[in-house]
Amino acid sequence: MVEKDVMITNKLGLHARAAAKLVNLAGKFHSHITISTEQICADAKSILGVLTLAAGKDTMVKIEAEGPDEKESLEAIIDLIENKFGED
């Protein structure tokens, strides 16, 4: 299992379209991937789950991945978040 903390830095936070991008990306991997705040942990492949985090700008989230492509999936998701989901 691999994990990494990352800050949500885009202006709108982890809003609906950003969540959809994250879920689409996570869905391309075979690993089980979660995204969590201090309070809530969600399946990164479920858009409604990811939205329950209600993670605004400057929220720290933890990405955890476990499975055959865990490293690649973690890197890809961290990359998406650090690149502000292609926004701003």
């Binding site: 379209r17 959809a20 991008k21 858009i47 409604l48 209600a54």
Partner: protein, 136 residues
């Protein structure tokens, strides 16, 4: 793959579908809106709905009709279409239900198997924010 038909007052269904598509960044297949005009004639609208449902059934085999308000004309019209194992109706549509329905539809799951989950997800997505963040 079942079809999805949103039957709602005025432009509500169109706007919900447009919003879901915008969020999911796709235009799903076999997902349509059937707007019910405020001054609609029930018999004429039922006839048009019959045609729409039959066309969708010929393409999809089964349909999920999502309506906005139990007791309202769109739901009353939709209820004329109910056919067990072929046409199911879920009322009280919200954006999370529609998004979840589109996602489930794409997985190829049978309509009957996702009805309970859709209702549950729609209810779970209604959040009293004060219960989450407490009083400030």
């Amino acid at each position: 793959m079942f079809g999805i038909l949103v039957v709602a007052h005025g432009e509500l269904g169109n706007l919900l579908l447009e919003t879901a598509n915008k969020i999911l960044q796709e235009t799903p297949e076999n997902v349509f809106s059937f707007p019910i005009a405020w001054d609609c004639d029930f018999a004429q609208t039922k006839e048009a709905l019959d045609k729409k449902v039959n066309k969708m059934l010929s393409e999809s085999g089964s349909i999920l009709i999502l309506t906005d308000l139990f007791g309202g004309t769109p739901t009353n019209l939709a209820m004329t279409q109910f056919k067990k194992n072929k046409v199911q109706i879920l009322t009280g549509i919200n954006l999370p239900i529609l998004i979840k329905a589109i996602i489930l539809q794409k997985t190829g799951v049978a309509l009957e198997e996702c009805l309970s989950e859709l209702r549950m997800k729609g209810q779970e997505a209604i959040v009293l924010v004060s219960e989450i963040i407490g009083e400030k």
